[in-house]
Symmetry: C2
Subunit: 115 residues, 2 copies
DNA sequence: AAATTATACATAATAAAATTAGGTATTATA
DNA sequence: TATAATACCTAATTTTATTATGTATAATTT
């Protein structure tokens, strides 16, 4: 399987990015979305996902609302007001970090596609 | 200062990449090169660098030769024969991982510059 | 109908990898 | 002469992930 080592340190920003885009998501849905976006290559393990989600709630970035689908709980996460304010800067930071990796590993020349 | 969180898990491949390019490098030189390549934004700490270098030697990927500049030791690292064989695949893997991050964080559209 | 897979949450033990802090010493510069 | 730069290193701690385990419902396959 694909090396997920690179994901170390990126799970929290990734969660923020996905929830920002989708407005709200639940844990299992996040794992599926990441699988989908990565063509099945990235599998977020539950042992990484749930602690990260809980930390983001602790940090006041995410808020939760539970819904019951039949007898099964579904815990939706969305950005808090504070999270909405800080998300853009956090995503800009990770963007710069990733582009820095591109630069360090000499994956340049890469330019924006103007087509 | 710049978030170095993204570097987690990338130090070993980065060392391999730099040593492959430069043929041989010593520890301190690696920290300076990374600073230079990142416009002073990335500072590799010694507590991360030396254990990583030592592990790469243990793994048989790097070999060392000491040189004495005056009374000061300088330990050069270069790719072993085995390291030369395995480096391209390792770098391809990290390349794919970084491009996966680009994709996940929606930093696309990015294409190779054909200029 | 029974077994398996998918959905859905979660935690605990362990391992890996970094940060922070500390240590030693030489050489160059202010 | 004091400080900064060069040059190596390790240890304690923290952070973060993996692996394993646990519980339970719903859907699908045999």
């Amino acid at each position: 399987m694909f090396s997920q080592e690179i994901l170390k340190g990126t799970i929290k920003p990734l969660i923020i990015k996905l929830i920002k885009d989708e407005r709200r998501m639940y844990g299992y849905q996040i794992t599926q979305k990441v699988k989908e976006l990565s063509s099945q290559k990235i599998v977020i393990t539950e042992g990484a996902l749930y602690p990260a989600l809980h930390k983001l709630v602790e940090e006041g970035i995410l808020i939760t609302e539970s819904e019951w689908i039949g007898n099964r709980e579904r815990k939706y996460y969305s950005l808090s007001e504070s999270g909405k304010e800080t998300a853009p800067a956090k995503l800009e930071e990770i963007r710069e970090s990733i582009l820095m990796l591109v630069q360090l590993f000499d994956l340049k020349p890469l330019v924006y596609d103007t087509k």
